[in-house]
Subunit: 373 residues, 2 copies
């Protein structure tokens, strides 16, 4: 049996679970665990000396799971002809094109299924299905923290602050939860998934994203009365070479299964002409689930089952989609696009994302919901 | 680019879609389409002469999609060292162990993801996840016809006969729908998926299965009042070397996402310790979706991404599970295991599947629902 030497970078929740699971594999050795601070060394194979790892030709794969941008780690690994597997959405979202170039140049693999919705195999399934026909669209609940908060507010009568507090208590929200609740986390995930799905390169600063930090219980009650449930969704579509992508609070009809996905779960749907909608529901985060996905990528590498990364094309972000929105405050700003007002909630006519974005810039603590057609 | 010659057997809905999709692939040739009757020949590559195909060494893969048992076709193909891809649950359920033996002996592949819930990649994902830790359980809505009928009855006030009629009209039910509505179709699917998940060989005549043919609208109304939705589910679990497997009408709590999966959709959940529950929702049947899955298997073969089929072990079917049931008629039979009766519906104490099976044998037109814990 051929043995495989790997290096683990980062020994947080995911890193620990990866090391733990790999102890069950006789043919894979964690030769190094790279940590930042010598003081934290608690295992024989831990090191702060990444250069030593880079120069060790027996290490074929680097499993990267740090907090923050891992740019230097990843670039050095790829240049040293080591394959990289990462769960780090920040760094993959920021540098995917460059990493891909380096991986191809050095004839190594770059795998990152765990960076998008932890335990859900969305990236590998995108690769799988796009072999047959183009992916038309992707959308879903891609942040467990927000979904947990919305579940407590929708179904257990919590207000936002109490729900956030409980999420922190249970470890579903970080001390500083802003990247989750303001939609930045979903932004990164939908960008990575869309880049792989459509073979395009997307500039994250061009994408409109909006979170749930200005939400109020009363808004959810209004939606419930109208047969809707609010979810924070990432969405993208690519049709006739026209790309739409955004992150928004969305009012889903109760007949949509996604409106019933609660707790801290994630759900993603992809659509192609021949398969229709294919959806997956699972743990979007958490040590073990994310580690499982990291190791699935590793086993795909070991068994030569890796899909080739596409060449990402630069495309214009069209955002041609038009939609109607419920506006819950700052109503006066939306007078020109008003369709009707009911119980102090304004429903817009069909407007573009660009229009919405301009209104949002002028508003203060705006809260709105895109209405599912 | 290396060209791949394949043979298609069966030119029904799925076969036609497979041929159509493969026209888009420059490196795959449908060299033969095997049909039964010379009169139906409408394409140059159609033939009734399977021996010619078997003797043509340039054909590497046989794509089998007929109605009925394809035993002879598959055995001949495997013996001639051709890989086989099948969407035929009847033949795979019946002969998987023998096919596997022949495939291994002749060093060819046997792929059948399309045989279980058409457009949902459950078999390939079972292979993927069981590399890391054992599959604990599998369950789901595995028959679109029944799910469509139950949706009409639950949400659109149809009675069973009207719902079945409409399903036939829309092509969701066959002229003789008995294998669907009596649970036989689900039985085959849950057996195939379980055999792959647990590496076991299951005798289909030992498994208790029950359909929805005796259902009445009033039973669903009772369940609705009690916060339940009825679904026909396939279920299996394998824990501590103890196997449980059955097909039953099941009362799902409304908090279970599966209770909201409607129309003709399928949903399957698998559970492992590290990933938790991972669920997939999609088209369980239909020409294009099933064809897509056939071609995904074919591309996995072409790209050397095929998982090795396990050696299936004979195991005893323990069915140690105990559960409570709602009994909707034949109440007098269940007197000994009665927990309570309400509105002419009896709720049992916890009983084993064997007990239930014995009562069911004595009853006439029994309808019951396993109650989700």
């Amino acid at each position: 049996m051929e043995r495989l030497n790997v290096c683990v970078i980062g020994y947080g929740t995911v890193g620990k679970s990866v090391v733990e699971i790999l102890e069950g594999f006789n043919d894979i050795d964690v030769k190094y665990i790279v940590i930042k601070d010598q003081k934290n060394k608690c295992k024989k194979n831990m090191t702060i000396d990444y250069e030593k790892v880079i120069n060790d030709e027996s290490v074929k794969v680097v499993l990267e799971m740090i907090n923050g941008d891992a740019y230097d780690y990843i670039v050095k690994a790829l240049k040293a002809k080591k394959s990289v597997i990462s769960s780090n959405k920040l760094t993959i979202c920021k540098h995917l094109k460059e990493y891909t170039f380096l991986a191809k140049k050095n004839k190594v693999s770059l795998l990152f299924d765990a960076s998008v919705c932890g335990g859900i195999p969305i990236i590998s399934n995108i690769y799988k299905y796009k072999r047959i026909d183009p992916i038309n669209s992707l959308y879903g609940i891609m942040n467990g923290t927000c979904n947990f908060i919305l579940d407590l507010m929708n179904n257990f009568d919590f207000d936002f602050e109490k729900a956030l507090e409980k999420a922190k208590l249970l470890g579903y929200a970080e001390k500083d939860p802003s990247s989750d609740i303001m939609g930045l986390d979903v932004l990164r995930k939908i960008i990575i998934a869309s880049e792989v799905a459509y073979d395009v390169s997307i500039k994250s600063n061009e994408v409109f994203f909006y979170g749930i930090n200005n939400i109020k219980k009363a808004y959810l009650d209004f939606l419930k009365e109208h047969g809707y449930t609010l979810k924070l969704l990432g969405y993208s579509s690519y049709k006739k070479a026209s790309l739409t992508i955004h992150v928004m609070p969305t009012a889903l009809k109760n007949s949509n299964v996604m409106s019933h996905v609660n707790s801290n779960l994630n759900m993603i749907s992809l659509n192609t002409n021949s398969i229709g909608d294919l959806s997956m529901i699972g743990q979007g985060a958490g040590g073990l689930a994310t580690a499982n996905q990291m190791i699935n990528d590793l086993l795909d590498f070991k068994e030569n089952k890796v899909f080739e990364i596409p060449d990402f094309q630069e495309v214009k972000l069209d955002n041609l989609e038009v939609a109607t929105y419920y506006i819950f405050n700052n109503l006066e700003l939306f007078e020109n696009v008003k369709f009707k007002v009911e119980n102090n909630v304004l429903q817009t006519k069909k407007i573009t994302i660009k229009q919405l974005e301009e209104y949002a810039k002028k508003a203060k603590n705006l809260f709105f919901a895109r209405i599912e057609e």
